[in-house]
Amino acid sequence: MATDKRDFTANELMVCEAARQLRDGEVVFVGIGLPNLACNLARRLNAPGLVLVYESGAVGAEPKRLPISIGDPSLVTDSLSVCSMFDVFSYYLQGDLIDVGFLQGSQIDRFGNLNTTVIGNYQEPKVRLPGSGGACEIAILAKRVFVIAPQTKRSFPERVDFITSPGFVDGNEARRKLGMPGAGPSMVITNLGCYEFEDGEMMLTSLHPNCTLEEVRENTGWNVRISPHLTTTKAPTIEELTILREELDTSHLFI
């Protein structure tokens, strides 16, 4: 039951669109915030058999409250398994068990490379960012990568200042040549639209309701490709919004 009233936030739309892309039975490497909401929304709707793996070692969590941190105790209680971080990174992630990894980034570029390390020069940065965490290995090892990121001209440069987590590096063939096991980023969801990759390059595939191509171009640091089959992103349904607002993030911490 779609609504075309503008009674949803950009974050809500991003969460709903990400949730729809998850398939039942997939194993997802989840982060806190919007990715966690997307996965839990998908579990209630299109993918009840989705298995959530947190880098902190909780597998199959069913948190009774909204987790604030990646190591929230609510991810442990009543989960299916808690394992060491060695197991998470070696056996789950490097072990080819992760179907979808979620990443966020301060910068993402034309080839889907992500930067969470520094703005400017590494040795004398303009802004020092937190660094990789698990992002580098998720980008390399997960079978597919979903990126959720707000879009501005500064956060969407043609080339990132520092590749923390490689996308397609400098084009389509790079991942294969470098021997990366995963297929790389398959979807980027911003506050303006959804992007997929063609020949390793980002391409706008759908525009969010009430967003324009001009906004996209103004907020992209290169001449972005537009899909010949450009569609409009489906607005969140009442059902999706109700679950998000009344069950998953009741205090509107992330949405």
């Binding site: 039942d24 194993v27 058999g49 199959g60 209680t77 009543d78 989960s79 398994s81 808690v82």
Partner: protein, 304 residues
Amino acid sequence: MQLDNKLMSMHEAVSRYVHDGDVIVIEGFTHLICFAAAHEIIRQQRRDLTVCRLTPDLIYDQLIGAGCVRRLVFSWAGNPGAGPLYALRRAVEQGIPNPIELEEYSHFGMVARLTAGASRLPFYPLRNYMGSDLPRVNPRIKTITCPFTGEELAAVPALNPDTAIVHAQRADKNGNAQIWGLLGVQKEAAFAAKHTIVVAEEIVPEKTIRDDPNRTLIPGLIVDAVVNEPFGCHPSYAQGFYDRDNNFYVQWREISADVRRFNEYLEEWVFGMADRAEYVSHAGDSLARLRAGTHLCEPVNYGY
């Protein structure tokens, strides 16, 4: 992750996930060795298997004597505390019932191979084998040089079996399996394998698993088949369920030393039985005597 029902009989699990020519691991170090699975493989007359285990034990002695095996990968081949494995010896020394190839490591080497397999690394480095003749007779034990210190270390290749069969005290219907007592390399074997069969003494509700998530050794998401098989490890044991049948291990020396008695054993206890349940009722009181006493741990608090 596979979403359809994984709960099935041992017959079905073996016919789906153990094929002629496959590389198979049935692990468990003294503890939780799933004889029920081996007996079903013998009943289904699988052939040309490559079977891998640290300790071939009686379980692979039986598979070898039954003619299921083409190659054995191992690190210690004896009947613990009770002499040699005679069916293995007959195959190696006389080609009875068929010749088999041996590929030999040490325990640490086998643990390292499965750890590499579970991690999808092509090799695992270890500080071992210098001065030993093992690398001379096994060309798959190589060396590697540390890029930081220049030291030369040993390297063994990953082991990624087609199917691993691991026994657990309890599992839910999705294969989330909990094990306590000796852990052996059950976790590494399950993660290394392309397919995993979990066999459990008890199938429990998912809530039992979720009540103590740190106890889960094998997550359901890597499990293809779940089989409920009480007493499925006899004559091996399951901590908290039944003791090891040490007498049978001693008796096996006499049974396996004599081809006729070996075959009689298979006829009576393997081919003569439809499944493990029939084996258990055929064994009767001798199994009941092995049932474990009670020694409960204290619960811990998962609250927040």
